[in-house]
């Protein structure tokens, strides 16, 4: 495993994050501060907040994934690491998959794990918590896949940030709908197994197919 380019990319990204932990914490801080804005904008009424909580928690996750995706390839593009990866002759599919998995381990997964804390701040009813964690765990995998794709398309551009959101948010519509739908249904005591299966299926589809596009876009961005 660790001898393939997939394992190497994942281990390297995790090591880099370990050396600079702020990169992992930033999306969580961002999540916290946006959650803080919600009651300030909507008013502190618990009934209102708990009604909108599934959507708010999911929209914030979408934005956090978007902002954290922006820097995935940045330093490797600037210092030539990406070029070395391409000329090494290793499979770009596996390398791209490695970037997606590492990005998810560093942003989506931690976010999903601490999301119950944020859910308390927005008074999400307790029966929605497992659904929130599961849907975020699966959904952020798709968000990481699309995030890496968007970044690989825009990494050669100096000002990619605003463009990235225009490219990615329309593609991420199904994730938002399914994710917040799952939490809403769980809160209302409806069954969610089928929807979770669909979300899991989409996540598998995303991590199977997007590395193809990411590998091609990296080559395009490097003009090779």
């Amino acid at each position: 495993m660790s001898h393939s380019v997939l394992g190497k990319v994942v281990m390297r990204q995790l090591l880099l994050a370990y050396r600079r932990p702020a990169a992992v914490l930033n999306p969580l801080f961002f999540y916290g501060v946006v959650v803080l804005l919600m009651p300030l904008g909507l008013g502190p009424k618990q009934a209102v907040l708990s009604e909108f909580a599934p959507g708010l928690l999911w929209i914030t996750a979408l934005l956090a994934a978007l902002l954290s995706a922006e820097i995935v390839f940045r330093s490797d593009y600037d210092d030539g690491g990406l070029e070395q990866l391409v000329v090494s002759g290793d499979s770009m599919y596996l390398a791209s998959l490695g970037y997606v998995i590492a990005h998810w381990c560093l942003t989506g997964l931690p976010l999903a794990l601490v999301s119950p804390v944020f859910a308390q701040l927005l008074s999400l009813p307790a029966q929605g918590l497992p659904a929130l964690v599961i849907s975020l765990t699966l959904g952020t995998l798709i968000l990481s896949a699309f995030g890496c794709l968007g970044t690989s398309l825009t990494v050669a551009l100096r000002r990619g940030g605003m463009l990235l959101s225009l490219l990615l948010l329309p593609l991420e519509v199904p994730v938002l709908i399914l994710g917040s739908g799952i939490v809403t249904r769980a809160v209302n005591g409806m069954p969610i197994e089928a929807l979770i299966s669909i979300l899991a299926g989409l996540a598998l589809l995303a991590i199977a197919l997007t590395p193809l596009a990411i590998g091609a876009s990296i080559k395009i961005s490097l003009e090779v």
Binding site: T154, L157, L163, L166, L171, L202, I220
Partner: protein, 247 residues
Amino acid sequence: MAWAWFHRLGSSPWIYRFSGSLLGYLLPLAMTLVVVGSIWGLAFSPPDFRQGNSYRIIYIHVPVSVVSLAGYYVMAIAGAVSLIWRLKVADMMMRVAAPIGAALTFLALLTGAVWGKPTWGTYWVWDARITSMVVLLFLYLGVYALYEAYDNKALASKACAILSLVGTVNIPIIYKSVDWWYSLHQPASIKFTGGSTIDPSMLYPLLLMIFSVYLLYACLLLMGLRLTLLETEAKTAWARKEVMGAQ
């Protein structure tokens, strides 16, 4: 010999002249049909017994909606062709299709809103189909914005081709999910399209309009393509000759 047509697709002057002579037939035909269809639909088809005359906007609304949906596939297929066969024409076709598609989608939303005000009493409802059209508009705008963001246009079109292919895979998922989202949040519903039956006297002008807007779309694509050809090859002898005239 059998592949001569394919090789000719790599020659810019040939495409420029061929599309020019094609436009000579297509454009007058498209314009005539649009005028005939509009007059037929707006003046001669009977008024709807529930909506009166306001329904007549379907003669614009439905054709532009249909073509804006098809336009995304035109763009994506052109993108795929340019990625696979490195065909310059396909490449230009894709980049021209993005703003045209965005404009048609916007027109579909606009005519829908204009129709909605007298009929539903509001310009906007978050109905499944309207929402999907808004997503489609942003997909088009994303491709267009990505293209404009690159200085190197050869890279830009490859990046856009990938983006539009990803969008193509995603579009059915988006549509399904938006449908599901709508059924989940079913508001005090304004059901209008129950058991859609349409009288032939209204259908024929509509079909004619759909056909002529397709033709118009083809003309716009070709015109955009010719302009892009001249722009990218502005320094070559044939392009100068076309613009300046024979010297």
